[in-house]
């Protein structure tokens, strides 16, 4: 039995290494090569290490467009995730606590949001009609709409584990419905809020297609779209492309590493009800 566990463990580690670590090493190596070296796209060590030169070249490319992209992506991510947390928690709370005939209808819409794939052309038409096409706040609302269903489901599920007695105790203490939500329920949602923040911010930050469709324009560029800077039909600078990939991968990685502990801490705190 022990031997078998050992073998399974080693196999799993090896698979993880091949799937997750090898590509990362490949990116790292190619980001350190010169343009000619990297064109070969092989798994060799660079003849000459030009990591920092490449880094500077990528940041400076097209008049520092990467920095603008970072700003835009961060703005979109922070705002849309904030909206998802607030609205997701509110809708989840009402769906879980207040029973009415409308609940099924609302829940149907939430599920529809998860199941029905978004249609790009009508969405662009709608955005144009209400003057939100090619705007950052339009993009924020789109990301919020795409992510809200999942957030609502997570919050609704978690709120089910909070005893209703707490709401009632707060009501007896004289809290209004908004006060019950903001002063009693919301602070208790910390573990699931962290989960929503991590999952959604990584999704929004890494999103490539939606900004491509809904957010054209040089000043609207997001980090994933900067990858196009170094790849075109005739000229590809693979070393800079890989450096760019490295740079846009780092923020989500940091978010995950930072919040990973928080998730575990939050979950164990929620497991023992006070």
């Amino acid at each position: 039995m022990k031997r078998r566990q050992y073998v399974i463990g080693i196999t799993a580690l090896a698979a993880t290494f091949v799937i997750f670590v090898l590509p990362f090493i490949f990116i790292l190596l190619n980001a350190s090569k010169t343009s000619q070296d990297s064109a070969a796209l092989d798994f060799s060590l660079p003849d000459r290490w030009v990591f920092f030169e490449n880094l500077i070249a990528v940041v400076q490319a097209r008049d520092y467009i990467l920095l603008l992209a970072y700003w835009n992506s961060t703005l979109i991510t922070v705002c849309s995730v904030a909206l998802m947390v607030i609205f997701g928690a509110m809708v989840g709370y009402i769906l879980q606590r207040r029973h009415s005939a409308w609940n099924k209808v609302i829940f149907g819409f939430v599920l529809a949001g998860l199941m029905i794939p978004p249609a790009v052309v009508p969405t662009i038409w709608l955005l144009q009609q209400i003057g939100l096409f090619k705007t950052i706040h339009g993009m924020i609302l789109i990301q919020c709409a795409y992510g809200l269903s999942f957030s609502v489901l997570l919050f609704r599920q978690f709120i089910g584990t909070i005893p209703r007695d707490l709401d009632e105790a707060a009501r007896i203490d004289g809290a209004s419905p908004l006060q019950i939500f903001f002063r009693v329920i919301l602070p208790l949602l910390k573990p699931v809020t962290v989960t929503v923040i991590v999952v959604q911010s990584i999704t929004v930050f890494n999103d490539f297609t939606h900004p491509l469709y809904y957010l054209p324009g040089r000043e609207n560029v997001t980090v994933q779209l900067t990858l196009y800077n170094f790849q075109s039909q005739f000229v590809s600078q693979m070393n800079l492309l890989f450096m760019n990939i490295l740079l846009v991968t780092i923020p989500p990685l940091i978010v995950f590493l930072f919040f990973n502990r928080q998730i575990v801490a939050g979950m164990t705190a929620g497991a023992v009800k006070g």
Binding site: P163, A169, I172, G174, A175, L188
Partner: protein
């Protein structure tokens, strides 16, 4: 302090009526206990008084004021829940002061009130702890503290002791009785435990199937139960109740005799055999199989030498038999 009056309170969930027209007056400063088996509507009735549940019809008055349509906070009541319902993210001090902070009282006033309550309930050293760092008894005290800090007219308790172990429960019973004596407020207490009802109440309301079965002082209910249900519910071990032929011989529908009102005596008319003996120290509970009656519980003194299988003869104490008409 306040007098609570209920007039023809009815409550339906969908088509099912669970409270069937309750009329009740709880006097100023009284400790009133609602008791009954689970599902009898006692908690629902308490929630209607608190305002957490709305009555389908009927009138509720506190201190002569119709409060039927008011929010809980406007009724000037406080409630202690079975699960304590402490806010897990707040400290003990913040839990107690939560209601006052919602009412936007000045910080100094809140702190003073919290300290005063903490003093009364011996919670002073725990004010900075979170609920999860407290024992069951301490949590219960915090829940009570949260209720008394607002100085309400009426206290409502929804089975507050049922999550505690036996020793702590009897200690908290005494503390609650002391608290009632100290505050002199009207208190309404829901329990399914007849011992709590008997030991703490000024007045007991026995409920069954959403209607009042009997109202009275603990000893009134013990000495003069109005129905076999009340007779069986009040007193421990419960009263021996017999219907059918046995009751017919005694000239009634249901015949009842409490275990402590049966004497084991050699010249007794009832005979049977001991099936099981429970020794509690001070008392001995004898489960016997009697010839005419069938199973019967008899309470006798702790020094009894009785053993399983022994033949016994018993007799009821005079004036202690109960005969009920149709229940």
């Amino acid at each position: 302090m306040a007098r609570v009056e209920l007039h023809d309170i009815r409550k339906s969930f969908g088509k099912v009526e669970v409270i069937h027209g309750i009329d009740l007056t709880i006097e100023d400063g009284e400790f009133c206990v609602f008791v009954g088996p689970s599902g009898c509507g006692k908690s629902t009735l308490l929630r209607i008084i608190s305002g957490l549940e709305e009555q389908t019809s009927g009138r509720i008055e506190i201190d002569g004021r119709d409060v039927g349509n008011l929010e809980p906070v406007e009724r000037d009541i406080a409630m202690v829940f079975q699960s304590y319902a402490l806010y897990p993210h707040l400290t003990v001090g913040e839990n107690i002061g939560f209601g006052l902070s919602l009412a936007r009282k000045p910080k100094a006033e809140i702190a003073e009130a919290v300290n005063r309550v903490a003093e009364t309930l011996q919670l002073g050293h725990l004010l900075d702890r979170r609920p999860k760092e407290l024992s069951g008894g301490q949590r219960q005290r915090v829940a009570i503290g949260r209720a008394i800090v607002r100085d309400p007219k009426v206290f409502l308790f929804d089975e507050p002791l049922s999550n505690l172990d036996a020793a702590l429960r009897s200690q908290m019973r005494i503390e609650l009785t002391d608290l009632h004596a100290q505050l002199g407020s009207t208190m309404i207490y829901v329990t399914h435990d007849q011992v709590e009802a008997m030991t703490m109440a000024d007045k007991i309301v026995v409920l069954k199937d959403g209607a009042i079965e009997q109202v009275g002082t603990p000893m009134e209910l013990y000495d003069k139960p109005a129905t076999p249900f009340v007779a069986g519910f009040i007193g421990s071990p419960k009263m021996n109740l017999f219907d059918g032929d046995v009751a017919a011989q005694k000239g009634c529908e249901v015949y009842g005799i409490r275990p402590e009102h049966i004497r084991l005596t050699d010249d007794g008319d009832w005979h049977g055999r001991v099936r099981l003996v429970e020794r509690l120290g001070a008392d001995t509970i004898v489960h016997a199989e009697m010839e005419t009656f069938g199973p019967m519980i008899i309470r006798t003194d702790g020094q009894s030498e009785l053993r399983e299988g022994r033949e016994i003869r018993a007799a009821p104490m005079p004036e202690r038999e109960f005969r009920f008409g149709k229940s």
